[in-house]
Amino acid sequence: MSKESQSKTLNSIKNWYATSKQEAGLYIALVVLIVFLSIASPAFLNADNILNIIRQVSIVGIIAIGGFMVILTGGMDISVGYVAALTGIVVAKLTIDMDVPMPLSITAGMCVGLLAGLLNGTLSTYLNLPSFIVTLGTMQICQGAGYVITQATPISNFPESFVALGRGYWGPVPIPVIILAGLYIFMSLFMKYSKFGTYCYALGGNKESARLSGIRVNRIQVLVYILGGLFSSLGGLIVAARTNAGSAQVGSTYLFDVFTACVLGGTALSGGIGRLPGVVVGCIFVGILNNGLVQLNVDSFYQMMVQGIVLVIAVVLQSLMTREKRIKK
């Protein structure tokens, strides 16, 4: 009996390890990075800078939730950054230039994400089009629309209350961080404990098996794209609040950041594998990397190179730590 209970605890430890080990390498890489940076730059570890980093991370983090879900179900959404930008622009145009009440214009902004997601989802699912092209098209449409609306001149000066969404604090904690934390906790649980969440994994794992198991794969797929759009829009709201403007000069970097965070966090681009906690750690890694390079005052031309090299090292480290004992594949 005692032997059995022993093997039970052993098993549960194994299980914990098994579920989190796909990110284990990332944790180690993160720790290495943090230790290195805090030795190299004394200012790195002060509370101010840490809050600063997570506040910066929060936007990519929120967008990455949606991006992650799409990737998890075996698709990809490269329109995320510009959907975010367009959302901010629409809200700014409506609120600032047209005096539409805040709640209404925010709703309109979220509709950008909704529509973009609906377009992405419907075309890629029901017409079975490659999601790369569909979302590329959506991306260009959003980017273009952003320029058309703003005429390349950012629309600034939101009411204070809205700006607080991006710049305010709740006690010592920035509001975007609270939003991110809330969303992550909720979505992590949702992805794990809801039927919808588990079905997302099934879709990415084997769409045909999922279909034959009576799962309505198309409907779920479209919903996931819509959620992707909505999270992008939410991110866009926060960017707008943070920069106090709706601007078409925003959005180009989110795509790579989101993908990098997901992949570093152990998400397989082929779908079916990955966990939100990993993604958030991936985002933090990317954020720390960006911040650290500034802290170390690396020449900005070298920054790109260093970033590339660190990225490769991180992923090598991750893979070496994560390696299941060499078995096939």
Partner: protein
């Protein structure tokens, strides 16, 4: 007859499982050496080591007394070892001829240009030798599962290997093709090739094998000459106990639970009409490619149908997708477990419950992993899934155990009507009886089942009624009493008309 392949003291561990423990085996040239064992005994692992897919932890491999080091499948192929693996390995988008020659292409000197004509010719010839006439310029994807399997077999034996290893080659084949395969295997044997033949089907062992070796739980149990064995002894050797096989008693009622009327799928199915009664097991027999799978897939809503009605319990239901089918109380165990049945990267418990998640929620509508786990543990017990690790990824189970997981998934959904395509493909003798018993138990609970199987004996044993399918048409309906191997084959091959 010299020893051509000799494998010594092989051990192999996977995380959590010792798959092989000090196993030795030798094969003589011109010998058919059957390798038997329960699901998960380590047979596939053994041949994967011999063929360079896995590296052994310990042990040595000799070919004609020469020690070889197989680091990759390429090395094994070079050493003259050819393998048909248990799971299909094809490139779906390439044509049959290219698949057939993959890795063995004859090329011209100029830029390694492939001699395509030769490929086509060779593929066609080899397939014909197996009694198999298909257009080898078709995309592999357009072939049925059985046809794909035949292409693989034909490929392997066409390369003039020294050793041929066949891992459950007939599991996907129907009677006619099996017979063809036996002939080819015997011909290879005459040429002095050493053959390892893995199977769960005992008739094959008795009609083909010269010697029989048995593995159990990764341990080598023993080798015996076929002459010295009878079925009972063999079962005892494989399972370690006796397996009772009792004939089923019919408990079918007269109440029609499922009725299919005028089902047509262009180019595949023509005017299919049949019904299923409560408590009945209805068998579909026919040759490979006859359209049996297509019928139940169309009923299930997995494939589009051009016309036809489905009535369940006297009411017409619209089934246009598997979701609709599940809502109507119909579940399907698909033919191909790897591509249609399982999510290979997901755990056993996930696969086991993903079709019945609605039943796994707590009051708040959240999935209760306690329930999921409990259900998975029950399934492990009921289907004797080994290793009994519900958190193991599906891809890490042996073939037979994977099959059991697929069946358990559909049983968990608790359907009124279970459509089951090749229920015991690759399942060992003991577990096969278990699955049969489970199906029997289900009808006793008032459920109804349609079984499609290429194993005639299985159809005969399970079914209360047998429908014979040929060229997309139902050509005969036979009661349990009328049905027999010969009659069915006659109908199936078109020798006898209704």
């Amino acid at each position: 007859m010299g020893t051509i392949l000799s494998v010594k003291n092989i051990s192999k561990s996977f995380p959590g499982v010792k798959a092989l423990d000090d196993v030795s085996l030798d094969v003589k040239s011109g010998e058919i050496h059957a390798l038997l064992g329960e699901n998960g005994a380590g047979k596939s692992t053994f041949i994967k080591i011999v063929s360079g897919v896995f590296r052994a932890d310990e042990g040595e491999i000799f070919i004609e007394d020469r020690k070889i080091d197989v680091k990759s499948p390429a090395d094994a192929v070079e050493a003259g070892i050819s393998v048909v693996h248990q799971e299909l390995n094809i490139v779906p988008w390439l044509d049959v001829a290219t698949n057939f020659m993959l890795g063995q292409e004859r090329t011209k000197k100029f830029l390694n240009v492939i001699d395509k004509k030769y490929s086509i010719q060779k593929a066609q010839e080899s397939l014909k030798r197996l009694g198999f006439d298909i257009d080898v310029t078709k995309k592999m994807q357009m072939l049925s599962f059985a046809e794909q399997q035949m292409v693989e077999i034909a490929k392997v034996i066409s390369t003039n290997p020294k050793v041929v290893i066949l891992d459950e080659p007939t599991a996907a084949l129907a009677q006619q093709e099996r017979t063809n395969l036996y002939q080819v295997v015997n011909a290879l044997k005459k040429q002095g090739v050493g053959i390892i033949y893995i199977t769960h089907i005992f008739e094959e062992v008795f009609s083909l094998a010269d010697r029989v070796s048995v593995l159990r739980d990764g341990q080598y149990i023993g080798t015996a000459d076929r002459e010295n064995l009878d079925e009972k002894a063999l079962i005892k050797m494989v399972v370690g106990r006796e397996v009772k096989s009792e004939p089923r008693k019919s408990i079918a009622t007269d109440e029609v639970i499922l009725e299919v009327k005028g089902l047509n799928v262009e180019g595949k199915l023509h005017d299919i009409n049949f019904n299923l009664k409560r408590g009945e097991i209805l068998g579909f027999a026919g040759l490979a490619g006859a359209g049996r799978s297509e019928i139940i897939r169309a009923v299930f809503g997995a494939d589009r149908k051009d016309s036809g009605e489905v009535w369940i319990e006297g009411r017409q239901v619209e089934i246009n997708s598997p979701y609709d089918a599940y809502q109507a109380g119909v579940a399907l165990v698909p033919e191909e477990r790897k591509s249609e049945g399982l999510m290979m990267e997901m755990t056993m418990e996930y696969n086991n419950t993903c079709a019945s998640l609605s039943k796994m929620t707590n009051k708040a509508g959240m999935i209760s992993y306690k329930k999921v786990r409990k259900r998975a543990r029950e399934a492990v017990k009921k289907f004797e899934i080994s290793p009994p690790d519900v958190l193991r990824k599906a891809k890490l189970f042996s073939g037979g155990n994977q099959q059991k997981i697929v069946v358990s998934k559909c049983v968990n959904a608790d359907p009124k009507i279970l459509l089951i395509d090749e229920p015991t493909r690759g399942v060992d003798v003991g577990a096969k009886e278990e699955i049969h018993a489970i199906l029997d138990g289900m009808v006793k609970e008032g459920k109804s089942i349609i079984v499609v199987s290429s194993e005639l004996l299985e159809v005969l044993k399970l079914s209360d009624r047998v429908l014979v399918v040929r060229d997309g048409r139902i050509v005969a309906e036979l009661t349990k009493e009328e049905a027999g191997q010969e009659v069915i084959m006659q109908y199936a091959m078109g020798g006898k008309q209704l």
